[in-house]
Point group: C2
Chain length 196, copies 2
């Protein structure tokens, strides 16, 4: 339970706290709210300390993307090797806190070159992993991979899930129930549950 004063459980060093605080602020209030003063307050340190650990705010953002990306990739690798990878892919991309942060980085990347480079590399690693998992699942179920290319199926599942999350974030839910039912139906067609 009790974390030591300088342990790495709930009270890690300031650098790590700054990275986590920045991710939290970006997710909850948008990247525009992630100023040096705001994230410092969130991490319980003073503003100037941000520039001790990170030369510029862009460097901090890149670090948030790297750290969060590694953890997300790890989570993804684990989830995509279970019984029902297609369903796992759908669930992962329906996680609002994950997709919300990702959306903020997409917006940031649109006008910050350093972020764009990093995000692009990350997005392609994600796609590779997701596509590999889908390839295994489709092949195991005898699906024709020419008619249903794994990269296409993985993009469809991931992007539709993220789009729904983005819409929910602004209050749009029209058609969502129908879409979720439709996706469940299609997933069962592609990979009927066999693990029973």
């Amino acid at each position: 339970m009790a974390a030591s004063p300088k342990g790495r459980g709930s009270d890690p060093n300031a650098r790590q706290r700054l990275i986590e605080a920045t991710a939290r602020v970006m997710r909850d209030e948008g990247y525009a709210a992630a100023t040096s003063r705001r994230v410092a307050a969130e991490a319980g340190v003073k503003q100037a300390l941000v520039y001790y650990y990170f030369p510029t705010m862009d460097d901090l953002f890149v670090e948030v993307l790297r750290a969060g990306g590694e953890s997300a990739l790890e989570h993804m690798r684990a989830a995509l090797t279970n019984d029902d990878p297609l369903h796992a892919l759908w669930l992962i991309n329906n996680d609002a806190s994950r997709t919300g942060l990702n959306t903020e980085f997409m917006a940031l990347a649109n006008h910050r070159k350093a972020i764009r480079v990093e995000l692009r590399a990350y997005a392609e690693r994600v796609r590779d992993i997701e596509t590999a998992a889908v390839t295994v699942a489709l092949r195991a179920n005898g699906v024709d991979l020419d008619e249903h290319p794994p990269v296409v199926i993985s993009m469809l599942i991931a992007q539709v899930a993220r789009s729904l999350c983005n819409e929910v974030a602004v209050g749009v839910t029209l058609g969502h129930d129908e879409m979720r039912a439709y996706v469940e139906r299609q997933l069962k067609l592609l990979a009927p549950v066999t693990g029973g």
Copy 2:
């Protein structure tokens, strides 16, 4: 060719120029770059004039959304009543300048209530129009509307197209060719060309 000095062709009134300038800056450099000084310069007027026409910057953003939204809806209604509505829907949502501006508004809406309310109303009008067009197209081609609900098909087409545009904007194109080929194939299955 020559527009009159105060005509409404290429040199409309200042208010209209401010709205168009704001849309341009948002699309090209992101909403964070759309400051009162920046959009005033782009429109060829001084900063204070922005506040003569719009009480706050949020009011200006809402006006950009309303004006651009009306014009987009008009364009959409026209395109969706032609021979091949499904394909038209796909093409409209592949227009990078349209989807780029829409993405900026989604990002803005995440932490500005006034924008969120307006965007939500607009998004639902768009979905209604798109769904109506898809309904007509599917019914005309004898598609089972229970198996393929129009609202789902319209969301799939529109959201996949927008997702591709968003990815292109940050330099990600992995799997895009396969996806575009796949979509063309699926659209032909749902609505084979009959107008020849």
